[in-house]
Amino acid sequence: MSIVSTLEWIESTDLSTTIREGALPYPIIGGIHLLGIALFGGMLLATDLRLLGWAMQRRRVSDLVEQFRPWKQLGFVLVVASGLLLAWAEPQKLYRSPAFWVKMALFALVGVHALVFRAGVYENPARLDAAVTGQAKLAAAISLLLWAGLIVSGRLIAFDS
């Protein structure tokens, strides 16, 4: 089965048609996507700004990382699940959109970022309580850039046609 026929099949499913053609599902799912961005992104920003020494200096890194974790996970699930539904609604448009592929490449880099920095930064944040390491600052800076890139590329998808 070719890619194009797979995408056509996806668009012919009831779920895809409902999201694409109904008046409410698309904006509601889009709204959930944005709320997930605010929840996940707000905590990501707070963590990164703390690691960079710009915010929340009176809080321990480990306190923040540990307390944010369940909410960041919830935000991540909201963003990814709603994103998958939005993609399911119009896969052919996304397949042709350069911005979409930039976004997916950045998303892959988020995975690389996690693999590279998990052990040294996020898994054992108590080590950063006394002093934030250069590696952790680098992780925070890259995380900010990736996140900004994901937002810009995501927004550009709507303008690719």
Binding site: A23, Y26, P27, I28, G30, G31, L34, L35, I37, A38, L39, G41, G42, M43, L45, A46, L49, A55, M56, R58, R59, D63, Q67, F68, P70, W71, A148, I151, V152, R155, L156, A158, F159
Partner: protein
């Protein structure tokens, strides 16, 4: 000068022309708008979750609010610059858009609530029920602002 003629003038302003100029202008400003609301609403949500008692319990709501206040404000500043820029680009159409009107009403109430009742709930000793109520109302108001914003493109 009526509001409508002001909005008509806005659409001919230099910054509206800039927004309607290169194709990338609108999405880039909109992206900044998203980053601004992630910063402001995200940091407000952190405080709200504490007020509700759902998370962040190793600090008081007062401590979190004091830590994050300036970042919330920075997010507001970004939103309140990028938002009107986007509005200028097509002011008359937005003016008649019911989702836009809904969003602006919610935004006014949310901002007013944030700097009055919400601020009081994070600054002085209030009963747990009052704190929960303030956190819950705040989350609901900001959710409505985001949802209303998303609907603008569809209504």
């Amino acid at each position: 000068m009526s509001a409508l003629s002001f909005f008509e003038w806005l659409t001919t302003s230099p910054w509206a022309n800039a927004m309607n100029g290169p194709e990338w202008a609108f999405p880039v400003v909109q992206s900044l708008h998203f980053m601004g609301f992630a910063l402001s609403i995200g940091t407000i949500a952190i405080v709200d979750l504490r007020l509700l008692g759902w998370g962040m319990r190793r600090q008081t709501a007062a401590e979190l609010a004091a830590d994050l206040e300036r970042w919330t404000l920075l997010g507001f500043a970004v939103m309140l610059i990028t938002g009107p820029l986007m509005f200028s680009a097509d002011a008359v159409r937005y003016h008649y858009n019911p989702s836009f009107q809904f969003k602006m009403t919610c935004l006014m109430v949310a901002l007013l609530f944030h700097y009055t009742i919400h601020r009081r709930a994070t600054r002085s000793e209030v009963s747990p029920i009052a704190a929960k109520l303030a956190g819950g109302v705040s989350l609901a108001l900001w959710t409505a602002v985001v949802a209303g914003g998303r609907m603008i493109a569809f209504v």
